[in-house]
Homo-oligomer: 197 residues x 2
């Protein structure tokens, strides 16, 4: 019953994040039901992305240019540097339309248990950018979980000798959040981070 080509497709689709065998099978049978042209378009989109998109050599954000649009935008200040774990976090930050500085993508979070130390991340490149003297403030926007916090603390410590303000994005109640349903750690952080009005 196992058809090699379907089996291979399922195995490939299983690689996607959060996709188990059952979902991969669902995707595979859907793909088999598509027109050949549509499947070809999907395959071409994969190959094109792999061929034309690469991390920006300055900040690490994905781009199809030599340097990414953000790094080469003259309206954006070099004095602010926002540090994120992943290129897709840049997309999330950009959606705010508030931030007018540059970015630095670490490509992961510190996780000694998984063998991910500072050398596995783009932390040296960050240090070099900070040592150049133009950066005035580094905003640590790593995830608000254990790994993200450890990564932020590590970088904060690393940058301490430099004359740079290091900040961490605020933790607290999300907008629309109902106090009743907020977990105690978030509430505790919200209390700690309270501000005068």
């Amino acid at each position: 019953m196992a058809i090699a080509a379907i089996e291979k497709l399922i195995i490939q689709l299983c690689k996607l994040p959060g996709v188990g065998r059952k979902t991969a099978q669902r995707y595979a049978y859907f793909i088999l039901g598509m027109d050949k042209d549509q499947t070809r378009d999907m395959a071409v989109a994969l190959l094109d992305a792999a061929e034309n998109v690469h991390p920006c050599p300055v900040c690490g954000m994905y781009t199809d240019l030599e340097r990414c649009e953000i790094c080469s935008d003259p309206r954006r200040t070099d004095e602010l540097l926002c540090v994120v774990s992943d290129p897709k976090d840049v997309v999330a930050m950009e959606k705010t339309r508030e931030y007018m500085g540059k970015y630095h993508v670490l490509f992961g979070s510190l996780s000694p248990m998984d063998g991910i130390g500072p050398n596995e991340l783009h932390i040296n490149a960050l240090l070099e950018r900070c040592q150049s003297g133009t950066v005035k403030e580094v905003i640590l926007a790593t995830d608000s979980d254990a790994k993200g916090d450890v990564t932020a603390s590590y970088i904060a410590k690393l940058l301490r000798p430099l004359d740079i303000t290091v900040t961490r994005i605020a933790r607290g109640i999300p907008i629309g959040g109902n106090l009743e349903y907020i977990d105690e750690v978030t509430l505790q952080k919200a209390l700690e981070g309270r501000q005068k009005i």
Copy 2:
């Protein structure tokens, strides 16, 4: 900020069933983070499946052979025909390792609202198979929802003039099911379908 190649990839991934823009974006950025070779493997798996896999001309199940393995298996009886909506339902049925008949895939369910009538499904081919005289029983294993029920009723009516037993797979409490949590329609069907022990 919109990079054409990434945008195209996201649009292609959005086509997958149950995948919205956010999930597609997650998949796309994951794919961008893979090695080029891995992405190529994924694209090749897509193309290979589209190239080599086609519906069996007899039953409609996907196969890379001229006729599918089930149709050409001499140990399986031609007297039993199990009718399903989708090729992946054949996979589900085969997992029981109980059924030793053949299949017929309809490629959909009747859904007049979506413009899917009998001519859009492989119902004529089913009728032809049944008229050949070898089939003794047709088991209707379409989904247990409104569309699946309508499809089953339609086929049952269509086959009535022929000398064939038409059955519908049983509806009732799933194994491990707790009466307390079973919806009333299922319970009602379970009562209706009660059997002497």
